[in-house]
Amino acid sequence: MFLRVAWLVVRKDLTVEVRSREILYTTVFFAVACVLVFAFALVKEGRPLEDAAAGIMWISVAFAGTLALGRTFERERHAETLRALMLAPASRPAIYVGKLLGIVLLLLIVEAILVPLIGLLFNAPIGSRPLSLMGLLVTGTIGFSAVGTLFAAMLVRARSRDVMLPILLYPITIPVIIAGVRGTAALFEPVPADDLAQMWMALLAFFDIVFVTLALWTFEPLMTE
């Protein structure tokens, strides 16, 4: 029942998104624009600073993710579908998991476009450890999205919600950024540091478990009046 509700929520989001593809296109383009801005800031005499590629990738994902979260829940608020979801006889944590999976899917598509671009622009060896890189990206995206979905959902009825989301989200997701950037930088070294990357991935997985659990606990009391 739980998984069925989550799947129904994901399917609803996917159906709406496939019709217009608005959030997908705008988020991808924003991420690419971010990469360019940071590239101009961090490239000296035609060569990027050390570890710039890893840092730029994760910053762009974080910024694009914040935007995507804002847009997704703005859409819910506009159509008053969030209230309908809350009124439905479905367990609240299942609704949260459904929204979470939708956001994670969107961000993974953005990353699929961003990573080859980073590899192209910064000569980063993205093909040297593809599985580890994917593992880092998936665990990091889940961690960021878990906290982001909860905060975006709880801010839907708040004032100044657009600026509040980054203010609340970024301090909490700093461990994700640290682990993601350091792990990706370890993989982009000329000789990839596999054990280091695995350690960062383990930290990310632990973060995911703790914060998804915390979000599942607090979703119900936060969304009720």
Binding site: L155, R159, P171, F207
Partner: protein
């Protein structure tokens, strides 16, 4: 209760008036070949460390009170949490100003990205975000800020661990003084003074918050007629 406050305030004032004499009487730190400026500057530690202790205690209280407010919906817990959050920001500001002042003299740099400093800064920012949400979040902001406090408190160990691992890859030297027995009376006197101040401020601020919430309720009731 009303009779305790004036006595407590007078006692705190007297203790803080006496503190500088005790601090100056404490022996100088023994460092080989250091200039007098460095030896004297360490004495800021008598205010820096107790402030840090109070800051962490306040953060702990705010986290627990916020969790109680979220899961048990007791309004009294929310008042305590709001007061404690303000005190985290206040004493955190003292820590973050006195720390660099001391660091500049002792280490030659204003700031270092080691685990303790970074997690303290981050915790301070999380509680500043708490206050921002409370002030600008509109109706229902108490629950949003409570969620922020719970997530923020859960987050600090992660930040500490990840920055620790990050820093061991780029080691930095630091000077941590061991507590000379001659320094102990001054140190514990300052700890007691700060704890007393913290207790007074927390009690007074909580009472103020209770009164404010009561007045707000009365306004709402009056509006209904």
């Amino acid at each position: 209760m009303n009779r305790v406050y004036p006595v407590g305030v007078v006692l705190a004032v007297l203790m803080f008036a006496a503190a500088p004499y005790l601090v100056m009487a404490a022996p100088d730190m023994q460092v080989q070949g250091a200039t007098p400026g460095v030896l004297l500057s360490y004495k800021i530690f008598f205010y820096h460390v107790p402030s840090a202790m109070v800051m962490f205690l306040a953060a702990f209280i705010c986290g627990i009170a916020s969790a109680i407010y979220l899961f048990r919906a007791r309004p009294g817990a929310d008042h305590i949490a709001a007061a404690a959050a303000e005190l985290v920001v206040l004493f955190g500001l003292i820590v973050l100003v006195t720390g660099p002042l001391w660091a500049r003299k002792a280490w030659g740099v204003w700031w270092q990205w080691d685990a303790r400093l970074t997690s303290t800064l981050l915790m301070w920012m999380i509680f500043v975000a708490y206050l921002l949400v409370r002030r600008f979040g509109g109706p229902g902001a108490e629950k949003l800020s409570a969620a922020m406090a719970v997530f923020g408190t859960a987050n600090v160990p992660f930040v500490y661990v990840s920055v620790n691992i990050w820093r061991t890859l780029h080691p930095a030297t630091s000077v941590v003084p061991t507590l000379d027995p001659g320094m102990r009376p001054a140190f514990w006197f300052c700890v007691v003074s700060f704890m007393l101040l913290f207790g007074l401020l927390l009690a007074l601020r909580t009472r103020l918050e209770q009164r404010r919430a009561h007045v707000e309720q009365l306004y709402l009731l009056a509006d209904e007629d």
